[in-house]
């Protein structure tokens, strides 16, 4: 049976399918194209934020086919219908992982954000605890417009670890 958590996202040329069950948090999609694939946002995929060509390029790099794409003209009847339905949004952040507490894995990306995976919580600058997440990326360049999360601006402003 179709996994009810599956989602699809569309622009006028292509549709990207996301299958959470296949997602192993390789982080390829949002390391390369956080403008489109941003786990800190809902819906987490914004098909208007890059060219179709670029979205295809990055989608093709997903190592587990958790994201795949099709030309809209090749969609089946069912897939077409699913494109227009709206249902509750899940994203890589809210997927459950193994129950055991493992240390959260924090990776400092070169010239980019702080990527966090695993079990952890986030306290905002007002002391409020935000919902637990499975994955997120914090801005490290000082330039994001959606603080404290990375929105891809580190590339535009040429953030460099050496400086």
């Amino acid at each position: 049976m179709e996994d009810p958590r599956n989602r699809q996202y569309t622009n006028d040329e292509i549709t990207v399918f996301w299958k959470p069950a296949k997602c192993v948090h390789a982080t390829t999609c949002f390391r390369e194209l956080i403008e489109v694939f941003n786990p800190g946002r809902r819906p987490w995929v914004d098909m208007s934020a890059a060219s179709t060509q670029r979205i295809i390029e990055v989608t093709d790099k997903c190592p587990t086919d958790a994201i795949v794409w099709k030309y809209n003209k090749d969609l089946s009847e069912n897939e077409l219908q699913a494109s227009t339905s709206t249902s509750e949004e899940v994203n890589p952040e809210t997927l459950s992982t193994d129950p055991e507490t493992k240390p959260a894995k924090v990776t400092i990306m070169k010239d980019g954000p702080i990527v966090v995976e695993g079990e952890f919580k986030v306290i905002d600058s007002n002391g409020n605890e935000l919902k637990s997440m499975i994955m997120t990326s914090f801005c490290r360049c000082g330039g994001s417009h959606s603080m404290p999360y990375c929105d891809g601006r580190h590339r535009k402003i040429g953030f460099n670890d050496k400086k």
């Binding site: 924090v106 400092i108 070169k110 952890f120 986030v122 600058s125 914090f138 801005c139 404290p148």
Partner: protein, 63 residues
């Protein structure tokens, strides 16, 4: 005893405090630290990246 899960506290106009159970790696996959609390730079100006060295002060950094 089970270790406390990791906690990330956003300090206004300053760093990100990391505590609890975590491991920090650089982009090459080398382990940098696993004991907290530690403070990661969010303003982009530290000369000791990825850690905060106080350079956010008087820099006008907000967030």
């Amino acid at each position: 005893m089970k270790e406390k899960s990791a906690q990330f506290r956003v300090i206004e106009n300053k760093s990100l405090e990391v505590s609890g159970s975590f491991e920090i790696f650089n982009a090459k996959g080398e382990l940098l630290k696993s004991e907290g609390p530690i403070y990661l730079c969010r303003c982009g100006l530290s000369e000791n990246k990825p850690f905060c060295d106080g350079k956010h002060k008087n820099s006008g950094f907000t967030g």
